[in-house]
């Protein structure tokens, strides 16, 4: 037994061995180094955070939609955060907004999305037994877990969690005397984020290395599924941008605890001048948004990758513009590093600099639009199967368009000066980032559930979940455009003191009701998910008729993924409905020599390489029993 256990660790990445060994409960489910288990750990933790983040948002929506009503009934949960007359404490409102943003951006859509699908799909789709370093992968999850624990703890301390917004701008966040949330809550926020960054880097370095070094025979970069391209580029972007946030966080910690003045200057509190001189709060904004803007693509790219895969599979058509997709992801990745200052148009920057950033920002619309057109042209004339995964993917495309268009408006510095920090911005990024990425996450869960758990989720519940959520999202975020254009600033506790805003009360009520319904609809998903893990119908080997490698593994893949040798790859992953072929898909493992009926002349040429070239010598089918 003891030797067996050592094997579990030693054998990762080796070619030939028997995978039927079992660790104990702790090594199998808790401190596992298997990428599939780690992916599920990320997913479950992400779901937990998504639920919590959603609940927080509904609480502050109650305040915004029904400012007059009493929420005394929440006292058992919120305690003293409910004031004497049954209202939400104004400072706690700020804390709620802050935690909602932090949780959703980092814990759900970064860790929950990349953590789940990069881990799950990279080895399975490139044909590897596991990640390059299973141990670092495990560390990555546990750093994320520790970070989660710290952030979660901060919700329960007496002074409350951080409350300066998810962007934690100093001086507010640097001065504990400024607001309660800048005390211990902010300290915990920074500790948690530092752990989170370590987790992201450990994960990202692993993803990149795995994609470069561990592709199976024949899996060149031009045969990689677009999911893998997306995860790969996401990891690269994270690798280059998170360290900058790390530096900013360290400097902020010094300002908070050791009396330095990196971000502080000329501040008066209660009429008293603070001694800090010489720093610059704008500097923090530059550092933050140098991460912050790439971060929005870290959140979105994996969702776009998942969508490419799901849409092509379920439209039974090759993805339109495979190389254009890769090119636009590269372009987006590159441009995302040079547009950050569009979040800072109102910081008093030189108008000339503003127009430089305007132009750079608007250029991003080009690759984004290319991707959108490619999705639509893939759908065009397709033999569409409306699986839940497919519907969520199409929903993503819809949000990406409607949210992206407002981005183009905001990217113009002259317009943005009017719209900055209003609900218009909230509408923009919730559609294009929040909802789009969330739909990508959902599409991924529905699509790969059969591979993750060997069972099927209910399609009917999936459809209901989709329609309620899709309608809900638009009902929540579309009215915010009007509210924002009307001038409502974001992050305000209450608008009842402003006569001009009374006209919009009904819209705010509508948004709040829609938010509650949308949150309620997620419980349909939760039921479907957890019920199907245990009771779902057993999944067939390849439920969606996909071409990619993960469907050549057994229903319940063991550690090491393939029982025999790793299959080799001969063709790109999008041979759907190929003219002349018997079936409407040809898996990547089928050599051209076996499909003379559907080969193009150029592909017939490649047969030679399959049989005698040194590129690929052995042919074999991934055997799946």
């Amino acid at each position: 037994m003891a030797t067996e256990e050592i094997n579990v660790v030693e054998e990762v990445g080796h070619e030939e061995h028997d995978h039927d060994h079992h660790g104990n409960f702790w090594t199998t489910y808790v401190f596992s180094t298997d990428h599939k288990t780690i992916a599920k750990q990320f997913l479950i933790t992400g779901i937990f955070w998504a639920l919590l983040g959603g609940i927080l948002s509904v609480i502050f929506r109650l305040q915004l939609g029904f400012p007059e009503s009493s929420i005394e009934w929440l006292r058992p949960f919120l305690g003293d955060w409910i004031t004497g007359d049954g209202k939400l404490d104004p400072e706690f409102y700020l804390a709620l907004v802050t935690m909602h943003g932090t949780i959703m951006v980092f814990f759900v859509l970064t860790a929950g999305l990349s953590g789940t699908f990069s881990n799950f799909l990279i080895p399975l789709q490139i044909g590897a037994r596991d990640m390059a370093s299973g141990f670092m992968n495990m560390l990555s999850y546990w750093f994320f877990f520790a970070s989660s624990v710290v952030m979660f703890t901060s919700l329960f301390i007496e002074t409350g969690p951080a409350s300066g917004g998810w962007v934690i701008y100093p001086p507010l966040s640097a001065l504990p005397q400024a607001v309660n949330g800048s005390g211990l809550g902010m300290t915990l926020w920074l500790v948690s984020m530092a752990l989170f960054i370590v987790s992201t880097l450990l994960g990202g370095i692993n993803y990149i290395t795995t994609v470069i070094n561990m592709r199976t025979k024949g899996m060149s970069f031009s045969k990689l599924p677009l999911t893998i391209w997306a995860f790969f580029l996401t990891a690269v972007i994270g690798l280059l941008s998170f360290p900058v946030l790390f530096s900013a966080a360290l400097l902020l910690i010094f300002d908070r605890h050791f009396g330095t003045s990196f971000f502080l200057s000329d501040i008066y509190i209660n009429g008293e001048a603070l001694p800090n001189q010489g720093g610059s709060p704008i500097l923090f904004q530059h550092l933050f948004w140098f991460l912050g803007h790439p971060e929005v693509y870290i959140v979105l790219l994996p969702a776009l990758g998942i969508t490419s895969e799901v849409i092509s599979t379920n439209a039974r058509k090759p993805i339109f513009g495979y190389y254009a997709m890769i090119g636009s992801m590269l372009a987006i990745g590159f441009l995302s590093f040079i547009v950050w200052a569009h979040h800072m148009f109102v910081t008093g920057m030189n108008p000339f600099l503003g127009s430089v950033f305007t132009i750079l920002t608007l250029i991003i619309a080009v690759p984004s639009a290319i991707k959108v057109f490619n999705y639509i042209t893939t759908l065009w004339g397709g033999n569409i199967r409306f699986t839940p995964g497919m519907m969520f993917s199409i929903g993503l495309v819809s949000f990406f368009i409607s949210g992206g268009l407002t981005g183009i408006a905001l990217g113009n510095s002259a317009v943005d000066i009017q719209l900055h920090d209003t609900y218009f911005v909230v509408a923009h990024f919730h559609l294009v980032m929040g909802s789009a990425s969330f739909f990508g996450l959902m599409a991924g869960v529905y699509h790969w559930f059969p591979k993750m758990f060997g069972r099927m989720m209910s399609n009917k519940l999936g459809s209901i979940h989709f329609w309620l959520t899709f309608a809900g999202v638009y009902l929540v975020f579309f009215p915010m455009h009007y509210i924002g254009v009307a001038g409502f600033p974001r992050r305000y506790y209450s608008f009842t003191n402003f006569d001009t805003f009374n006209d919009f009360t009904d819209l705010n009520v509508l948004v709040s009701i829609a938010a509650i319904v949308t949150l309620a609809a997620q419980f349909i998903f939760l039921f479907n998910f957890f019920y199907s893990i245990f009771r779902g119908k057993l999944a067939p080997a390849n439920p969606w008729g996909s071409t990619t490698l993960e469907w050549t593994t057994p229903r319940f893949p063991k550690h090491g993924n393939w029982p025999g040798e790793i299959p080799a790859v001969y063709r790109w992953p999008y041979d759907y409905s190929k003219p002349g072929a018997d079936e409407d898909f040809i898996p990547q493992t089928v050599p051209y020599s076996e499909t003379p009926e559907s080969n193009t002349p150029a592909e017939n040429e490649k047969i030679k390489l399959e049989t005698n070239g040194d590129e690929i010598v052995v042919k074999q089918n991934g055997d799946s029993h």
């Binding site: 060149s220 900058v244 360290l250 009396g259 003045s261 990196f262 001694p275």
Partner: protein, 241 residues
């Protein structure tokens, strides 16, 4: 001929092999260093921005005196060397430190090279010299910090020496960044020395001998060179310009 070379390159990237002829561990070290480079760049850019937002000293360098009104001339701040109290030797000591650190990079190269030859004794020797170089650098830095903190000569505006809130030599931000960036770099050097020691220990106990290769020396070597390279930038930005 050219055709077959192109063919090999294509095969390198077509899966089933390590395309960059580097193990995953080495690749990971490279990627970590790239990301760490961004951490340092962020700090150095911040330093640059804060520095240019302060007025520079505009008078004749010969008449320079310390003042919180303008950014000091680094040569005038870092001009002491141990045991020679009162001697005006601008940048001599830090130049020596830099030289020692670069020398330790050279010995590291020799250790890596010895690793390629599987020459255990030589790896031990050169690793030991690298460790000595690293520790010496840290020692020098400690002395320099001490001198900077304690201060020299007459108090300026009632301030002698420097800490994170007050600074005899110029605006507080000067000291803040000095402590933070050289401290952050020093922490990297310290970690490097610890790693070097680990390598040395494993070499002495024959771990790599049994493993059949000295790749760990190479990986840690990459880190060590990176730390040196960063110092060159820190040195340039803090001491030279």
């Amino acid at each position: 001929m050219a055709n077959s070379a192109a063919q090999t390159i294509k095969n390198l990237w077509s899966g089933g092999v390590e395309p960059m002829k580097a193990s995953y561990g080495k690749l990971m070290m490279w990627f970590f260093l790239v990301s760490d480079a961004f951490t340092f760049s962020a700090l150095l850019v911040s330093y640059g921005l804060v520095r240019v937002s302060h007025p520079a000293y505009s008078g004749d360098p010969a008449d320079f005196v310390f003042s919180q009104e303008y950014w000091p001339i680094p040569e005038q701040v870092f001009e002491a060397i141990p045991f020679f109290h009162g001697l005006h030797a601008p940048l001599v000591f830090v130049g020596l430190m830099t030289f020692i650190l670069i020398l330790s990079s050279v010995t590291m190269v020799l250790a890596v090279e010895a690793g390629h030859r599987n020459d255990r004794a030589a790896v031990e020797k050169w690793m030991l010299w690298t460790i000595v170089g690293g520790i010496t650098f840290l020692g020098c830095q400690a002395w320099e910090w001490g001198h900077f903190i304690v201060g020299d000569g007459a108090a300026v505006n009632g301030i002698l020496g420097a800490n994170l809130t007050e600074n005899q030599y110029g605006p507080p931000a000067f000291a803040d960044f000095f402590f933070f960036i050289t401290g952050f770099h020093g922490f990297h050097v310290f970690s490097g020395v610890a790693l070097n020691f680990l390598i040395y220990y494993n070499t002495v106990t024959g771990v790599y001998q049994r493993r059949g290769h000295y790749e760990m020396v190479e990986k840690v070597g990459l880190y060590w060179h990176f730390v040196d390279l960063v110092w060159v930038f820190v040195f340039t930005f803090f001491y030279l310009v």
